[in-house]
Symmetry: C2
Subunit: 131 residues, 2 copies
């Protein structure tokens, strides 16, 4: 039973990443809870979508690649890899169209099969080292 | 069987954190593999210990606090919390004895019950925001 739930969360998480990569925002509510929190801030589904739309606006070739997933219900942890060319500043760093590679180590807690809490840390030092 | 291994890795990981907090370096090889790699660099057990000793030298009140663990053999993922007063620079930031709080999102892959690979990202932006 526990194993099945784990498989389900992994599948749900891969669906979430696919939804982001397709920028299929109408499906976002299938994966993300209405009251979603990220790094201690209540964004809500609308705010979360706004954040993601902003990410794609500043990084037109943004793509989320899963390096690996560690799952133990109700948590999923993922190492995500990015290889992209942000237009202007990224996290306050003057990237200005340079191609950069970096990782994100991120935890999600699911409730009722949707992401309700996100703890994300992005490797900004790696970006800085590439500028 | 899988569940038991998961419990074992969690126990082993908590033992590792306890070992760090006690700076009991003679026990480190019980938790960390001889050829340990961290963020793509082969440190080896001696290099890993050197890194940790350096951390405690620059941050005399360093203490590793586990926020939560997500484990799925052979991986353990942890969110670690720090609340400390680094003496000089920390990750290139002029902390100089100010008290700062920050998190680390970190993944470990175990082999033969020891940590063989570490992928760590520290929330440096949080530190910067506190200076």
């Amino acid at each position: 039973m526990i194993e099945m739930r784990k498989e389900y969360l992994q599948k749900q998480y891969r669906g979430y990443i696919d939804c982001l990569n397709k920028q299929d925002w109408s499906r976002l509510g299938h994966y993300v809870a209405d009251g979603v929190q990220r790094n201690g801030e209540v964004l809500g589904l609308a705010g979360y979508r706004e954040m993601l739309e902003g990410d794609f606006a500043s990084i037109p070739d943004l793509s989320f690649k899963i390096d690996f997933i560690v799952s133990e219900p109700p948590y999923v942890a993922a190492r995500l890899l990015f290889d992209c060319t942000p237009k202007g500043d990224l996290f306050g760093l003057p990237v200005n169209g340079k191609r950069v590679s970096f990782a994100e180590n991120v935890f999600y807690r699911f409730a009722d099969e949707k992401i309700e809490t996100v703890w994300s840390v992005i490797d900004q030092a790696a970006i800085e080292a590439q500028l």
